[in-house]
Structures are given as C-alpha cells and as structure tokens.
C-alpha cells in the first residue's frame, strides 16, 4: 500500500488554488496601510528601542503565564484534580497526547496575583471593532465573543480575565486598523500591542467549536491485590444524556468526550427499594449480575434510593433565576424554550415560595423583585419581557443573584440560584479559581446553585459541571420542552431539596475472590482514598426521591477474563476474609446543614438482592454509554444486543423515557454503521 500521506499530499497539491493576484495586491495594501497607521500612532511611543523590548519581554512573560490559564483547565481543576492521576495511568496512553494542562499548578498564579492589573486588551481595540462592523464583510460581523471582550474593561473588580487574555492572543480583525485613540497614553498603548501579539505559541486548543465537555479517559482496570480500594463521589447530573440525545437527533454521533456514562445511567428514574422512613435518607441495594458484554465477568450494581419526604411539609423555597440574555440566546431553543420551561415550573411552586429574576449580558440587572409565587401574572409578565440582545450590562450578574437570594432567605427556607445559559458564563467573575471559590463559599452559607444549559454550538459543559458541582446543584441540559417537564416539573423536588449532601462511595474489593475490577463511568468524580473520611472534601448530593446507580465490572479470581498475569517477584498476599465476600461497601453522607458525615457500611456477598428490571435497564444504559465512548471493554458487544437488553428491561416506563432511550440506541446503531 502506498503511503497514505503521499496520496493526500498529491491530492492537496493539485487542488490548492494559486493565490489570486488582485487579492494578493489588495491584502498587501491593507497590511501596509495598517503598518503605517501603527507606526503613526506609536511614533512617540518608543524613546529607545531598548526600553521597549525590556518592557515587552516583561509583559509577554505575564501574558504567557496567563495564557496557560485557560478557563477550561482552570475550572476542571475545581472538580477533577484527582483526575490527573487517572490521566497518567490510563492503559491506552491516549491521554499522554492530550494538551498538557497542569491542573494543580494553575490555581497558584490566580491566587498569588489578585491585584495584578489586568492587561487591558479590548480598550484599545474598541475603535477597531466598530470599524470592523462597517468595513468587514457581513459574515464578519462581530461575534458574541468579540462583544464579550468589550465588556472586559468595564469590570469593576481587579480580576485577571484569564479567558479573555488567553483568547485574545489570536484576535484577528478583518479590515483596516484604525489609529489608536490619541487620548490614550501612547506609550501604554504600544505596550498593550505586545500583549496582543503572540510571541509564544498560544496554548493549543483541541476544540473545534466553542463547545467544551468535561470528561476524563475511562477508568482503567484495577488489579485487586495492588489497589483494592475504589473511592468516588456520586453524580446525579443528567446533562450528558440530554447532550447525547440532541446530537443523535441531529443525525451525528456525540463526541466521545460528551458521554459521561454515569449520567447516561442516572438520567432515568429507577424504583429501587426506598429506605424506611426516618432511618437514613437513602438506602443502598447491591445486586450481582452477569456482564452482558463479557461472559467471564460480573457486575456489582450499587443502587442508592433517596427517600421522598412528605412534600406537604416542605420548607418554603426561594428561587433566583439568573438568566443569560445575550444575543445568542434568541434562538428558538434557547430563551423562548427557557420561558416556556419556567412557566411549567411555576405551576409546581406554592404560594409561600418566592421567585426573583436577574439577567446578565443583555437587559440589565434585576428584572423581577422577589415575588410570591402566588402572583403568577407578575412573574409571567416579567418572563415575557425578557429579550435577548444587546451586549454589555449586568456585569455583576452572579453576585447580584446571590445577594438577592440572601435577602430573600428566612430561617428554614431552601434558597437556590438557577443559572440558565447557552454557554456564556460572563457572569461577572472570570477567573476560574475565584468563581469556584465564590460559589463554594455561598454554598457553605446555604445558597445552592443549579445550572440549566440551553442550545448547542456554544455549550460550555465543562463550566456547567464545575459550577453545579461547587454549588451543590445539578447541571441539566434542556433541549426540548419534554426535558423541561422532566427536570423542572416531574423531578423538581429532587432538584431543589437535597436530602443528603457530600455522598461518597468507597468499595474495598476482596482479592481472594476478585482478581480485577473497574468502575464504569464517574471518571470526573473520582476521589482519593483518604478523601472518603475527610468531611472537608466536597462530593455529590442526593435530592428528594433521587436514585443513583454505580456499576463495577469485576473479574473473579480464576476467570478466563483476567487480563493481567500474576507478578513473578511478588508473593501472593495472604487474605484472611471469608471467601464468599466480594468486597465491602462504605457510604458517607451528611444530613443537610450538618458538617459531620455519617457512615453506612455493608459487606458485598456473592448472593445479594434479586435482579430487578431497573438494574438491568441501568446496565443496558451503561453499555450504551460505553459503546458511544468506543470503550474497548465492550468491543465484543453489538448495538443489537444492547437494544435487546434495554427493550427487555423497559418495564412500566410511565413517561416513555426508556422508550426514547431505545430509539436513541437504534439511531446510534444506524449512525455508527455509516
């Protein structure tokens, strides 16, 4: 076979058009013109060239440092510092080639440079941008990203605009560059230009559009003798499933990064055995099943069912909607869908509940004072008046939302900010570390945060996840009114009333019975072993009536499926436990408001609870998620088998969620054949 690259090169060489002569002349003229203008404005800027280059070096140094702080990496660090360990040990070695983002190092510079004057990039670009609007081709009208940048100089707090700075490294403006405003100190303006220009390679970006997804490589297989303990935080988010659905319905397979298997599983309501009233807020049920995709392994299925407290006696609820009204929100599946969704939700509230609305990046500030839910028409009118558009206002959106929320709270109330956005998190705090800290601090003072994502193309799943995790809330993605019904009506109480906070799971496997194991999903929720007993380490929440499922695939000792050979120089450790125990399950949780955790523990035997259809369906979803991720562990399993399993375990399916999932699996089957 010929080298495919040679073939590609030949094809490229023959199709590459010759540069158009007129275009070339025009472009060079444009460049010369801009060159002259810059020289003109900077004529007095450089007393000596030596002076300039020293300053430039200093400033580019700072910019390079800020450059490394992409908001993505920084925010992932808030929740996934532990994932770094995983990235290193992944067996495929794939992640060795992902862009090197050093999570742990990033928080340091943020904290240590709080008063660093932020490089003010956009100020001097402002006049240029206005020109762009007039001069550039219509398709080059300033995008929302540009608009966001313009907001930067108006920030009141001296915060490092990590995202803005990182992005502006390659701000390109089509059209002529207007002379820098003469009123500006020209020396300063000259130096700013150095920051704009890339003197070092910009951080390499792997995303193809502005969507980002939080994920980590699949959990690797662990050898029980070497690493018997697995620790993670629960996750009740559902955003990944909705994103998968929206991709499949649009006729494409979702990016593997978008698939968080545990969210695929936990999207569905399950009817696991509920706890007895007043004992514990939730109850674990452990089931051992045969693995559908591997005849020689088994699954340990851990189901937590939260109790449904009597809702008649629920405390009053204070909700602050923080709504993104930036220009891009005007699509039908964004702001209009959001309005419909909130209208649905309003029907679930009680007269004593209160609602306020704060907007950002558009119409300014608080648009609805805290209003009792009984004044339905006032609330609906305020909702109706929301309009997408405009560029700059409500910089302090998040702070304002929280301060409104705090003023609404009486003793015993449940207070929550619900942020609705299509991915523009210009909520007034841009440094990832500061944002995380702010939300975590508000969480500890009792105001929680949930995030609802709308629309595709600009969706910042990573940030959504990080914010919701730090805010003790859920991240959900609303793609249809049906999804709004599910999240904001059917499961509203689960989303709004936590019954157990910081729920952590730790399983110790018995090396006498289990040779190897791996946790399916929860890659972004992995905890260190010692974090389990550390009550300061944040973890996921269980809401009223929530169910949470975690599945381990285990390989029994002596099974044909054992992938690792025994070591030659290690003697087998003696194991003293009884041979019918597969492992030991420990759960920790805090009652809402408590700061000390409680422990639930139970051994896992080979003979556990009978297999329910719910458990089977969750296993089918685990398989679905892994197939979408292209996991090696399900390589021998077909879409047809996955669909058959899900269909057989569909059960009552009152709302048709499972039927929908089966249809999605069929879509994915067809799309993956293509």
């Amino acid at each position: 076979m010929t080298d495919p690259l040679d073939q590609l090169k030949k094809a490229l060489d023959t199709t590459t058009p010759a540069p158009d002569k007129d275009m070339k002349a025009a472009n060079i003229r444009l460049a010369q013109k801009n060159f002259d203008q810059i020289q003109g404005s900077a004529q007095h800027a450089r007393p000596t060239s030596e002076n300039r280059s020293n300053l430039a070096r200093l400033l580019t140094g700072v910019s390079g440092m800020i450059d490394a702080l992409t908001s993505r990496g920084g925010i992932v660090a808030t929740t996934a510092i532990v994932a770094v360990g995983l990235i290193i040990v992944t067996p495929q070695g794939r992640s060795l080639f992902t862009p090197p983002v050093n999570f742990t190092d990033q928080e340091e510079p943020i904290g240590s440079l709080p008063s660093q004057p932020k490089p003010d990039l956009s100020q001097e670009n402002l006049p240029e941008r206005e020109d762009v609007g007039k001069l550039a081709k219509s398709s080059d009208a300033p995008s929302r990203r540009d608009l966001r940048k313009q907001e930067a100089p108006m920030m009141e707090e001296p915060m490092i605009m990590a995202e803005e700075v990182a992005e502006s490294d390659d701000v390109f403006v089509s059209g002529a560059i207007a002379p820098a405003p003469m009123s500006l100190d020209s020396n300063l303006s000259r130096n700013r230009q150095h920051i704009v220009a890339p003197s070092e390679p910009a951080s390499i970006r792997s995303e193809t559009n502005t969507e980002t997804f939080a994920n980590a490589p699949s959990n690797p297989l662990k050898i029980t003798v070497e690493d018997p303990v697995s620790t993670f935080s629960i996750d009740v988010d559902t955003a990944a499933y909705a994103v998968v659905r929206s991709s499949l319905n649009a006729g494409t397979l979702p990016p593997a990064q978008a698939v968080r298997v545990e969210e695929m599983i936990n999207y569905f309501p399950y009817d696991y055995v509920a706890p007895d009233a007043g004992v514990t807020p939730f109850r674990p049920t452990v089931t051992i099943l045969d693995t559908p995709w591997n005849a020689d392994t088994q699954l340990v299925h851990i189901a937590l069912q939260g109790q449904m407290p009597a809702l008649d006696t629920r405390p009053p609820l204070n909700i602050v909607f923080l709504i993104d009204t930036s220009g891009s929100m005007q699509d039908a599946n964004k702001l209009p869908l959001l309005k419909q969704s909130f209208r649905l939700m309003l029907g679930q509230l009680r007269p004593e509940d209160k609602v306020a609305i704060v907007t950002y990046a558009g119409s300014a500030g608080q648009v609805l004072e805290p209003t009792p839910a009984s004044e339905r028409s006032t609330i609906l009118a305020a909702l109706e008046h929301l309009e997408a558009g405009g560029s700059t206002a409500g910089q302090q959106g998040l702070q304002q939302a929280y301060s409104v929320a705090e003023n609404m709270a009486d003793d015993g109330d449940v207070t929550r900010v619900i942020l609705a956005t299509d991915g523009d998190f210009n909520v007034g705090i841009s440094a990832p570390g500061a944002l995380k800290e702010f939300i975590a601090q508000k969480r500890d003072s009792g105001t929680y945060l949930s995030v609802l994502g709308f629309g595709r193309g600009n969706l910042d799943d990573t940030t959504m996840q990080a914010l919701a995790q730090n805010g003790n809330g859920q991240a959900a993605y609303i793609d249809t009114l049906n999804e709004a019904q599910k999240v904001l009506v059917d499961q509203l109480s689960g989303a709004l009333f936590p019954i157990a906070n910081d729920v952590k799971i730790q399983v110790e496997f018995n090396p006498a019975t289990i040779a190897e194991y791996r946790l399916i999903g929860y890659e972004t929720r992995t905890l260190n072993r010692e974090d389990f007993n550390n009550d300061k380490v944040d973890a996921g929440e269980i809401g009223a009536g929530h169910s949470v499922t975690a599945i381990y695939e285990i390989t029994p000792v002596g099974s044909d499926a054992v992938l690792n050979d025994p070591l030659r120089y290690q003697t087998e450790k003696s194991v003293a436990t009884s041979a019918d125990e597969l492992g030991f399950l420990r759960l920790r949780y805090k009652s809402p408001g408590a700061s000390i955790s409680q422990l639930i523990q139970t051994p896992i035997f080979t003979d556990m609870a009978p297999i329910s259809t719910d458990a089977q369906f969750s296993v089918a979803m685990a398989g679905f998620g892994q197939l979408l991720r292209g996991s090696n562990y399900v390589a021998d399993w077909s879409w047809g088998e996955a669909i058959a399993l899900a269909t057989q375990a569909r059960g009552a399916d009152d709302f048709g969620y499972r039927a929908e999932a089966i249809n999605l699996m069929r879509l994915a089957q067809s799309l993956s054949v293509e």
Binding site: L8, A11, V173, S174, A197, A202, S206, S328
Partner: protein, 188 residues
C-alpha cells in the same frame, strides 16, 4: 545606491527583514510580505479546505500582521513565527464560525455538503475532502503544516507548541485514519 539597496533587500533573510519591519521599516515589511504571501495563502488553503475561506483567513492575517509583528524578536525563524500566527488565526476563525452556529465552508462542512450533493464530477476533491474531514483539527493542522514540504517535524512542533514526539504521533494517527478510510472505501 538605491538600486543596490533594493537588490540587497531581495537577499536579506526573512529574520532581518522582520526585525527591521518591527522597528518601523515600511519597505522591509512590504518585501517580506510579498515574499511570504504565496506560501501563507497555500497554508491557509490547507488549513481551511476552501478557496474562499483561505482568502478570508489570509486577509485576516495580513490585516493583523503589522500589530503582531511588533512581537517578533527573532528568537524563531520568521516562517515558523508566521505559521504560528496563521494557525492561531485559523483557530480563531473556526471558533467564530462555530459561535455563529453556522457551518463554515471548508473541511468542516463537507459532511453536510456531501449529503446534499452527490455529484461524481469532483471525485478527486471529494476523496481529499473525505480524507481531511475524517481527521480532527489537531491532526489536520499538523498535516497542513507538514504537507507544504517546508517544515520538518521539529518545525511543526515549534509552530504548534507541542513536542516533536506529539507531531510524530499525530502523523501516525493520521495515517491510521487514512488507512481505515481506504479500507472502508475498498470494502464498499
């Protein structure tokens, strides 16, 4: 004297010209851009996959180059520096295209076009398109740099700010993708 001066300009290295331009020498800037324009345009085409996009991208770069040039310190080859500017500009365009929620022309939109239009006439371009659109942005950018025959793996590593090993890995990944594609086509 003037004639000799200009002749010398034609032989002056890119780096010297670039430094002179950064210090405000208009002539040096013109010579440099004229010299590098065609290569820049071809790279823009390899990065974007459409003539219109390549022209827009080249225009973006030309418009911004005077500002950017101020940061050229001569610590890298000018070509490396210029290609880095180009790759960053291409990334920026991609992101803007994505945020307009509108499919851009070029490699990215080809899948969509293919469904709409099953014309066999441009089979060769079609194969190229399918090959390029099968690759992710990182791999495509890497190939766009390497297939111009100007840059070594080390140069491309420099432009993209990754290690040489990463470039080699990407090349082998790209080959793997292309072979898979070839197998699929033969299988049909």
């Amino acid at each position: 004297m003037r004639v000799i001066h200009n002749v010398m300009r034609m032989e002056t290295s890119d780096e010297t010209l670039a430094k002179a331009a950064a210090d405000g020498d208009r002539n040096a800037f013109g010579v440099l851009l004229d010299r590098r324009y065609d290569g820049l345009f071809r790279l823009a085409y390899r990065l974007t996959g459409s003539k219109a996009e390549a022209e827009d991208l080249t225009q973006d770069i030309c418009a911004a180059l005077p500002t950017k040039l101020a940061s050229f310190r001569g610590q890298a080859l000018f070509s490396t520096w210029l290609y880095r500017v180009a790759v960053n500009a291409a990334h920026d365009r991609r992101r803007r295209a994505a945020s307009r929620a509108k499919a851009a022309d070029g490699w990215g939109s080809w899948e969509i076009n293919r469904r709409a239009d099953n014309d066999d006439a441009e089979e060769k371009a079609d194969w190229l398109n399918s090959a390029m659109s099968a690759l992710n942005d990182d791999l495509r950018d890497t190939l766009a740099l390497l297939l111009g025959d100007e840059l070594t793996h080390a140069d491309a590593a420099n432009v993209l700010g990754v290690s040489e090993g990463t470039i080699s890995w990407r090349v082998s990944e790209a080959k793997k993708h292309l072979r898979t594609l070839a197998l699929q086509e033969n299988g049909q």
